[in-house]
């Protein structure tokens, strides 16, 4: 986990006349579990996406552990995001889906398999590993989605947090 700060962050989409996020100041402590609640369209998802690097704030700064991440690409920010729509790669098996971030981090094939199996056991989806996302039920897909971020923790000193929009 890590400490997150939003410092006077604003974002307005070109097609809208009202700001999606308007001068947001937010401090989230290390290990804190925070829930953003609000009516649809109030900027919850946009704020999370800016943290992940999928949107760029017009104004203000976002800091993780005291360091500004605004200039970093999503892949360099070490943030895990659980998508509302599951975001499973449809052309890969469940095993490959889970393995994808591990592969990018260049773990050895043995390491990768070990982690995949451990996470699959944790969530009880071991039997689903060879299947494609299209063959899974909704609940199974959800479990698989949360493994994406889980698969990345153990053994690495990476900062990881989950942002999930419901």
């Amino acid at each position: 986990m890590a400490r997150v700060e939003y410092d006077d962050v604003s974002k307005r989409f070109p097609t809208q006349d009202r700001a999606a996020v308007d001068h947001l100041d937010l401090d989230v402590a290390d290990g804190e579990f925070l829930v953003l609640l609000g009516p649809s369209g109030c900027g919850k998802t946009t704020a999370l996406r800016m943290l992940a690097g999928l949107e760029h704030p017009d104004h203000g700064d976002i800091l993780i552990d005291g360091g500004s991440v605004v200039r970093l690409e999503p892949k360099d920010r070490d943030v895990a995001l659980v998508f509302q729509s599951y975001a499973l790669y449809p052309h890969m098996s469940v095993r490959d889906n889970i393995q994808y971030p591990l592969r990018i981090r260049k773990l050895s094939p043995a390491e990768q398999s070990r982690k995949v199996e451990r996470v699959a056991d944790l969530l009880g989806i071991r039997h689903l590993l060879p299947r494609r996302p299209a063959q899974l039920s909704g609940g199974e897909q959800q479990r698989r989605t949360s493994t994406r971020s889980s698969g990345r923790i153990p053994g690495r000193s990476s900062r990881r947090f989950r942002s999930s929009s419901v």
Binding site: A52, G53, A80, A87, P90
Partner: protein
């Protein structure tokens, strides 16, 4: 017991009455005529190719022979023409797939203020007939030293098809949800690799259509070929057809047998490709029409 209003409503929303047998027969007749219309030239093609004294109408060869096929390879260097055509069309296909993937992806994902203007401009470019642009293209090719070279042929063919294919691919990419590549970015992939590993596989029907169309366009292209090459080494199949014209004593004679033989060998790869990619192309073309 149902009221009058209810039964009327039920009748209007009921499934349409099945076609009468007259309609079915009539429909099949029309289809039959259309199919025949398209198949007849192939009938001529396949009968005349094996006929030593082929003529311009369909008739069963008196003495079926493979002589035509032999002659086109020995006398008219058809082998080279075939290889050239395959090489040029194949390279055009590869170049187009790469260029169109990048351009289509950018147009789909980037938030540009004048995006719709750009899209319409791209589409407008496609409406330019080749006969209007062939003179400037020739001048350009000559200035750049692209005449009589594979590079020139491939580049120009790729460029001709580009506007429409970019527009097509952009629509395909629009149908791939963004969260897939975003998930890949968060997993740690660079944008280019995410495109290749995650987005393209999902859009592969579109790629199939682009590949098929660009290959076929280059395969069938005659006009640019005539303009750009006069070297024997580079000739492609459409040009080889012209060479079968035999001029003797002041009048030009068409050697139908040779033409038909070349035609058979020319058409067969196309049929093979279609059969192989049929499913992908149908899915792709249906999907693209839905997007319009």
């Amino acid at each position: 017991m149902t009221t009058r209003a209810e039964s009327r409503a039920a009748r209007s929303t009921a499934a349409p009455r099945g076609a009468s047998w007259v309609e079915t027969v009539a429909a099949h007749l029309v289809f039959g005529v259309v199919v025949l219309f398209f198949l007849v030239p192939f009938l001529w093609l396949f009968t005349s190719a094996f006929d030593a004294d082929a003529v311009a109408y369909i008739r069963v060869p008196a003495k079926p022979t493979l002589d035509n096929f032999v002659r086109i390879f020995t006398e008219h260097d058809f082998g080279r023409a075939l290889v050239n055509s395959v090489f040029v069309a194949g390279s055009t296909m590869v170049l187009d797939v790469v260029a169109v993937s990048l351009a289509g992806y950018s147009l789909s994902r980037l938030d540009l203020r004048f995006k719709s203007w750009i899209m319409y401009a791209v589409l407008l470019l496609q409406t330019m007939p080749l006969s209007a642009t062939m003179v400037p293209i020739y001048g350009l090719a000559r200035a750049l030293g692209l005449r009589n070279s594979y590079v020139g042929l491939i580049l120009i063919h790729a460029a001709i098809e580009l506007p429409f294919l970019i527009w097509l691919m952009k629509n395909f990419f629009d149908n791939v949800p963004r969260y897939l590549e975003e998930a890949a970015w968060l997993d740690g992939r660079s944008k280019l690799r995410a495109l290749v590993e995650v987005v393209l596989p999902v859009a592969r029907n579109g790629i199939g259509v682009v590949a098929g169309l660009s290959f076929l366009a280059a395969w069938a292209e005659v006009l640019m070929m005539i303009i750009l090459i006069d070297s024997q080494d580079l000739k492609t199949v459409p040009l080889a057809f012209y060479e079968t014209l035999r001029t003797q004593g002041g009048y030009t004679e068409v050697q139908y047998g040779l033409v038909a033989a070349m035609g058979v060998l020319y058409a067969v790869p196309v049929m093979a490709i279609f059969l192989a990619t049929r499913r992908m192309m149908v899915r792709g073309l249906v999907a693209s029409s839905r997007g319009l």
